[in-house]
Symmetry: C2
Subunit: 254 residues, 2 copies
């Protein structure tokens, strides 16, 4: 399929490459910032523009990989009747695309896109949604080309999934950061926690998290919790987090 890529950030870059590798033609990259459009177009060996009026009209797919705020701005102006238009946002409903075309959908890879990211998306689940058979065929074809796990979700389910991912990914990473800070203050390296972190994750790969909860809060070991809170006086921003999470675990262990 012939694709115009709207956007030039991490997601546009990684998905653009992946579409290209899976055999599609990226015709053009659009970005408001010409230098960014050009940079990605150079990687993808295609045209580029920062002028919305010069977006190539004869592609099969207009693939929007912009930040949420920018998507709304773009779809207020852009029209591509007869073509399929797709966004890749977790939190925006599919219908934000309604005014741009009759055929639209969503392709959302559940991945934490950043500089370190591996290019291989094969084992990354991709969540799709489409408003009719035509767009569903196109979204499915694109998704199947880059991942072997393609799952249909509604917009509401996608938002829920995103929230769950914030807990399981963004928030756990922040807890690692807190652990790092606490260790650092005692002259200890984050490295010494790595075997335990691996083990914690290994366990939930084959068990329900609720069934493998351990620690002072889950055994209602209030003496230990008290000692921890005493020491956490030196970390006034982390103490309330310790308290709230411990209470939440205790509530569920009763």
């Amino acid at each position: 399929m012939k694709i115009v890529l709207i956007g030039s950030g991490n997601v546009a870059t990684h998905l653009g490459k992946a579409f290209s590798i899976s055999g599609h033609d990226i015709l053009q990259v659009f970005s408001n910032t010409e230098v960014n459009a050009k940079a990605l177009a150079t990687i993808l060996k295609c045209e580029f523009t920062n002028d919305m009026d010069k977006i190539i009209p004869n592609a099969d797919v207009y693939f929007i990989a912009l930040k949420d705020d920018a998507i709304e701005g773009f779809t207020n102006k852009f029209r591509c009747l007869g073509k399929v238009i797709i966004h890749t946002s977790a939190s925006l409903p599919m219908d934000v695309l309604k005014k741009t075309s009759n055929d639209y959908g969503v392709l959302y890879p559940l991945q934490t896109f950043n500089k370190m990211m591996k290019l291989d998306l094969t084992n990354i689940p991709i969540f799709i949604e489409a408003n009719n058979d035509k767009s569903k065929k196109v979204v499915t074809l694109l998704a199947m080309g880059i991942s072997n796990q393609v799952i249909e979700l509604t917009s509401d389910q996608r938002l829920t999934l995103h929230i769950a991912a914030v807990f399981a990914n963004n928030f756990t990473n922040h807890l690692y950061k807190i652990a790092d800070d606490i260790l650092y203050a005692s002259g200890l390296e984050f490295d010494i926690l790595k075997p335990l972190i691996k083990e914690t994750v290994d366990k939930v790969m084959s068990n329900k998290p609720a069934n493998v909860q351990t620690g002072p809060a889950s055994r209602q070991d209030d003496k230990t919790i008290k000692k921890h809170l005493e020491l956490l006086k030196n970390f006034p921003s982390y103490k309330p987090i310790y308290e709230l999470l411990s209470e939440s675990i205790e509530k569920q262990s009763k």
Copy 2:
């Protein structure tokens, strides 16, 4: 070395087996509950007792693997002058053993002990402390027999490490549980998060957690956060956790 094992729970079981495999003699298991003492003694092929007065006096090491509360009760009564006594608690200082002997120490494996646990402790870091050269030699010998990562820590550092481990292990597991609950309510499986969870952990194996933070809070995407909080009204216990962790991330991303 000849060891008497005080305790019959998970930690006693796993360490007892590990000491035995590494060539030490477990002479006896003591537990207040005879049936538990017997069960572990059967596994370790040794004697057992639930009578403190019948604890064999001629061992080299008295190894206490009891819950923290039980340790204090035990050490109030037990004496083994001339022998080395060791506890395995994260949160109790080494000195709780002072009254039992002149030679004492701590051997603390950083591991989440439960039924699913693998027996191989080789790659589990073990943190040790000792009050003099004699006990240090004994504690080191025991630790080196079961792990290839033996690290000396003070009691204060061990407590700090334990707090860090609560954040990195117990609390992250609880966040997985929350994610599971949220997904379940939308008819989604926890399985779909597993690739992302693996990726999150892989990243901190080679990066500082602070450097790989992603998500709405780290990019101060207040619109998305607002949408998430709106939906989290259905999860009144989880909403404050989302808010507090998001605030903490935002504070550090500024």
